[in-house]
Amino acid sequence: MEDMILYNRLQFAFTITFHYLFPQLTMGLSLMIVYFKFMFLRTHLIHFNDAAKFWMKIFALNFAMGVVTGIPMEFQFGTNWAKFSELTGSIVGQTLAMEGMFSFFLESSFLGMFIFGEKLLGQKLHFFAGFMVFLGSWASGYLIIATHSWMQHPVGYEILENGKFALTNFGALFSNPWLWPSYLHNQAGSLITASFFVSAVGAFYLLSDRHAAFGKLFLKTGVVFGVISSIVVAFPTGDLVAKNVVKYQPVTFAAMEGIFETEDGGAEIILLGQPDMINKQLDNKIAVPNILSFLTYQRWDAQIKGLNEFQESVHPTNVPGLYYAYHIMAGLGTIFIAIMSISAFLLFRKKLYTTKWILWILMFAIPFPYIANTAGWYTAELGRQPWLVYNLMRMVKGVSPTVSSGNTLFTFLGFVGLYILLGLLFFMLVLKIIRNGPAIKAAH
């Protein structure tokens, strides 16, 4: 039983981590492509159209990877977490089915038209197709976060005698107080990934002295989108998400922040430290007094409950993991604001394109938004453990009763092998597209 839970969790964590590398870029990028296409319609500068088409190539490859790694996500609810599916399917299945019907059809139909149909559609309809792709990808994120929010903060349900969850209020799924802050936080996070990606390609072009005109356009666009999204991700969206956690999952909040003992005179914010689970304390900590209380309740002396206040059975399963995931996310988020603010300042002073050191930073920053977004998901998901449905259904109650641990281990290893292969191929092809650049594409 222990191995079975472990392998099922590993498989889900691995497949969803890999999957989410792709949608986080496509959601952000789709908005930037719509922007390029819009600028082309307004200015008639072919430059913008080439930029839109160039990014569409990278979008299409990411989208395909997102689709093929997304299908296993839906399947795994039934294959590996059958009890969870049986008991809650009439609710989580509802929002997942809506995702298929409302967003996948929209995205895939119009993506084909956007990629293949520029000549057939004419420029205005081509813009429209791009806009629909954007709409579809953001709707998809919305419905996934709606599903996720229900698991974090279940609403509109009743539990029947046989243990099944039955939906009693459809509207509640979408007025869930957990939903909008999480959704906007997530979308801002994916815009950060796209902004850093676009800026990095721009920086690469300027540093390697090729496609200079596109390099400047990408840098400018990436930095403008980046400075806005990296601020929005912290305030107001990140702040609102944190307030939800305090309100609905106080024990999770304590673990995230690394607070073991309740401090009555106001809680300090912890910048660094290592949770020590044996002595129930934080080792080597560097902290600023009273800030956390202020951020959470707008009062310097507000009380924030520590982990020791709660029974150990409701503590998050992996407190150090949760603590580190949260601090990596928040720490990187702060660094993003710094990088993008400096870049925006240099852009404003017209020095960005010639300041080598910031271009190097922007070019090598690519992996970090991915790490921050992944750490963000881990914060949310580890924060919910040991529950599948918060406070109502334990994770151990959700696994498939008939699938043995050997089978799960076998398929887990299969996914690892397959995804490593896919990842290498993807990496190689994206590098090739970037190296060829937009200009060659136009001549093609």
Binding site: A82, G89, S90, Q94, L120
Partner: protein, 358 residues
């Protein structure tokens, strides 16, 4: 209400098989019939703008199954664990093959992904047929042994095969002689369907060879369909009872027969879409017949202790189902509009307008 969602699910799955079915068929044709690079390119271009949206029907059907019949979803997905994982990996390979093929212009690269796409299409067609065979045949729900349930009532687990290949054995496998026959029927009918789509969408040199091939394959298909109908009756005698009770259900087998026999006139057709319509009719008719023979069962139980999963005992609560109805109608209208737009934008043969290049 449960019956309504059963119909929705059947219609969505039938749409999926008709639409993605021609992609699979094109993949199989591509593997065996396309001789040179130009022909291979013609085949992949014929499905280029469509396959992505076609595959969404599978994902959306899965979603509807999940929320409307959660017990069936949970039971069958964990019960058919291994074959479903293989299906997933094949779907990934097939999509990757299609997507990556054109990214590099290198002969070895193209051959590798062409083969991945073709083989995955072939195996998926075989697996989907075999899967249908498993659902028709039924499984040992609750894994009853000597009159005692080893598991909770709706759960089971099937290995890939057992040594006897006997569909009526107590310890069933996914693959036995009955499911293999249905798998082969599926491969043949989707190959024909895919060939018809290629004829419809291209002016390739391959088309002249496809028509006589369709005729020959259809002869084998006709024989196998007759054989499988008899085997079906042997494996699951009750399958006929719905047809005895409701005579109007015979419309489905009739549609299938019209489609099947229509294929034999393939060489006489003046319009290129006639063949495609016939193969679509055959697919819709035979899948409709299967669904009609099953109702109200979703997954029959082969033991007498645990009841079969039916539309009634596997469905979500009534409120959930009716809430789903309101958004589903809106979504279905939108989806139909997208598909009409898509087919109008990409109408006609691809080499006439040249949308295959990008």
């Amino acid at each position: 209400m449960e019956t309504f969602w059963f119909v929705v699910l059947v219609v969505m799955l039938a749409t999926y098989i008709v639409l993605d079915g021609y992609d699979f068929g094109a993949g199989i044709v591509h593997l065996f019939v396309a001789k040179n690079d130009e022909e291979r390119k013609a085949v992949t271009n014929a499905i280029g703008p469509f396959w992505d949206a076609n595959e969404v029907w599978l994902i959306a059907s899965g979603g509807v199954l999940f929320f409307a019949f959660p017990t069936l979803y949970a039971s069958s997905f964990s019960g058919f664990y291994l074959p479903l994982m293989l299906v997933l990996w094949l779907l990934i390979f097939r999509a990757v093959g299609l997507e990556l093929r054109g990214q590099l212009h290198n002969r070895l690269w193209e051959r590798v992904w062409d083969t991945a796409f073709g083989m995955a299409s072939l195996l998926l067609a075989l697996f989907f047929g075999a899967a249908l065979g498993n659902v028709v045949r039924g499984v040992n729900l609750g894994m009853v042994e000597n009159g005692v349930s080893q598991q909770e009532a709706p759960y089971f687990f099937l290995p890939l095969w057992n040594p006897t290949f006997d569909p009526l054995a107590a310890h069933q496998g996914i693959i036995d002689w009955f499911t293999i026959v249905l798998g082969v029927v599926s491969v043949l009918s989707l190959s024909i369907h895919g060939a018809n789509w290629i004829i419809l969408k291209t002016n390739s040199t391959i088309n002249a060879r496809l028509r006589p091939l369709i005729f020959k394959l259809n002869v084998i298909l006709l024989l196998l369909v007759i054989a499988s109908a008899l085997l079906w009756h042997y494996v699951r005698p009750v399958a006929i009872s719905n047809f005895k009770q409701y005579y109007w259900l015979w419309i489905f087998p009739v549609i299938a027969v019209i489609g099947l026999l229509g294929q034999f006139r393939i060489r006489a057709f003046k319009k290129d879409y006639s063949g495609f319509i016939c193969s679509s009719l055959f697919i819709v008719g035979s899948f409709g017949s299967t669904a009609a023979s099953m109702f109200p069962n979703l997954l029959p139980s082969t033991n007498s202790i645990n009841p079969s999963l039916t539309v009634h005992n596997a469905s979500a609560n009534a409120y959930g189902l009716s809430a789903g109805l309101s958004w589903f109608i809106v979504a279905a209208i939108l989806v139909i509009v997208y598909f009409i737009i898509q087919f109008r934008v990409f109408k006609g043969k691809l080499d006439d307008v040249g949308y295959g290049e990008h």
